[in-house]
């Protein structure tokens, strides 16, 4: 990771010579080698970017990339192997195309995790900043509440709430959104309390800047780097939580093509169609690793570390 950060005193021309690159100002490789971009690029970040862009493309243009209707099966073509009868990754027990279903699952999971994550970010940051600002009843209540929420295994809370509020996208998103913000609150609280002690914040206060302006204009920017990192790692955690709840049959409604539902369906056909297990499993793993890589990449760029949540 630290390989590219060693400074070379010879200057860009000397570097270019040493690396045997041309000095033609229009040569893109040479330009890249001399640019700042190279310092910030390592193999992990390149892999993370490629995977991330692929996921974004699949999520946005998924409808055009699906080869079949993910809901519509062909009973004549059940348990097709990968590549058979123009099924890219095979078909399931109802003859539905696994690739199209995996793409549909990606759209569902991404939408779910992204919305929940934004809600988490918003709640956690606001509460963290409020608690960090000064001692008093607000800090006591917020910290007590966070501690209470945290002292239960997250999955236990999520299971109870999701079953009560019911199936569907909106209940699932709001359950995750309203319950999983603890990481954001804790990190923002820890960092913002120290930022509130800085001279520039004190100066702003003396100069008569309003509390809200200090909170969001002076303190929040100092926490931003960590927030990006947590956002990425937390995204991975939410993907796991979402698919876990759907797998248990209490998240996404039955029949909706999501990774969790696909995994649950695959359990009866492990002997007959291992692809039914491997496709959604691979999709989850790839998505989670991508988000972890993105988080790691942002962390190594900003040289700060976030924590990933354990589900």
């Amino acid at each position: 990771m630290a390989g590219h950060q060693t400074s070379k005193p010879e200057g860009p021309v000397a570097i270019a010579k040493a690396e045997g690159a041309s000095l033609n100002p229009l040569d893109p490789i040479a330009r890249f080698n001399r640019s700042k971009l190279k310092q910030y690029t390592n193999i992990e970040i390149v892999v993370a970017s490629i995977l991330f862009i692929a996921i974004v493309i699949l999520a946005v243009f998924g409808a055009f990339l699906q080869t079949h209707d993910p809901m519509q099966g062909d009973l004549m073509a059940r348990f097709a192997k990968a590549g058979e009868k123009d099924y890219l990754l095979g078909s399931d027990h109802l003859g539905r195309d696994l690739w199209s279903r995996a793409v549909a699952g990606l759209q569902w999971s991404m939408a779910c995790a992204l919305t929940a994550n934004i809600i988490n970010l918003f709640i956690g940051t606001t509460l963290g900043l409020m608690a960090a600002e000064k001692e008093g009843w607000a800090r006591t209540i917020i910290r007590q509440f966070t501690d209470t929420l945290q002292s239960f295994p997250f999955l236990v809370v999520a299971i109870v709430v999701v079953v009560i509020v019911g199936h569907g996208f909106v209940p699932l998103v709001f359950t995750l959104g309203l319950l999983a913000w603890v990481v954001f609150m804790r990190v923002v609280y820890a960092e913002a309390t120290s930022i509130y002690q800085r001279d520039y914040v004190k100066a702003a206060r003396i100069a008569g800047v309003s509390r809200i302006a200090i909170m969001f204009g002076h303190v929040l920017p100092g926490v931003r780097a960590s927030l990006f990192v947590i956002f990425a790692f937390h995204f991975a955690g939410l993907l796991i939580a979402e698919s876990a709840l759907s797998f248990l049959g209490i998240g996404a409604p039955l029949g909706v093509p999501t990774w969790g539902n696909m995994l649950a369906e695959s359990r009866q056909y492990l002997l007959k169609a291992p692809g039914m297990l491997m496709v959604p499993a691979g999709a989850i793993v790839l998505a989670v690793i991508t988000m972890n890589l993105v988080g790691d990449g942002i962390a190594s760029l900003s040289r700060k570390r976030g924590r990933s949540i354990d589900v």
Partner: protein, 332 residues
Amino acid sequence: MSSGTASASSVANTKTTAQDILTGLIPLFLQLRKLAWLIFAVTTLLFFVLRQAGDPALVLAGNDATPEQLAAIRAQFGLDRPLLIQYFSYMWNVLQFDFGKSLASAEPALGKVLDMVPRTLHLAGMAILLTASIAIPLGSWLGFKPENPERRMVSGFLFVMQGVPGFVTALVLIQIFAVNLRLLPSLGYEWYEPKTWVLPVCSLASFLFPSLTRVVAANVAEAMREDYIRTARANGASQMALLWKHAVPNALLGAAALIGTQFAALLGGSAIIETIFSWPGMGWLLLESVQTLDFPVVQALAFMIAILVFSVNASTDLVFRFLDPRLRTKGA
């Protein structure tokens, strides 16, 4: 662990007296107040939320019950009284550890939960044991020379493993070892049959060990840069002694916190693994009882999980005090 204890006790120059142990327990008593508050909050919240979720009388009587039957059941269980009165009488019962009877099987709810506790502790304990016994040696090895190419490959592997959720591992393991190779049973639990433990424990550990290994490795790597390592090296300590006597005990202090957190998260949080393998533990019971709206059992489970998580956290604290002499508050 033993080397950590040895170095800790050699640093502490006074012998531990009964009074020291008592002063060490003060934070525990403060924590107990927190536990009481937690149980109160959770019980209250669950009481009102669960009443909103569904009518217990309807659950008891079934969907095709006549209004008269419903009324009879309401009267029998006191469900026709105002909600607040119900709440206070309920809390009074909870104070006496009476959570009522399970709606599904008419057994006392707490007893039903207590049956599950040993099984979940069994699963969680073995998973943590396996996690620690992989992560600590592996993490020490990785952290000793983190830039070494083969160790970087192992780090990459850990990074990938960290992205594989436990239930995905569980399904893949079932596919390989139960369905294809027919070596191990895919579900069921007998405490005397170790074959039934292997897959659930491995699935849980597979998700836990990468993060613990990374923490141990990072801590060892950090400890290796400390002054006391340089001093020990200057004194002629061997590489092995540097690692195992000086770096690892310090790294384990940080790891102990994560082990505690992971263990606490498994108490009930192992619900998915328990469901996949039909392991009749607390997580399995939680899913069962929530889905059948068996309120007394859900309440008793929440109570039990709160106590267990609290005990784990408190004992992690105590272990810390034991391991780390800097945390012991001593009057001069």
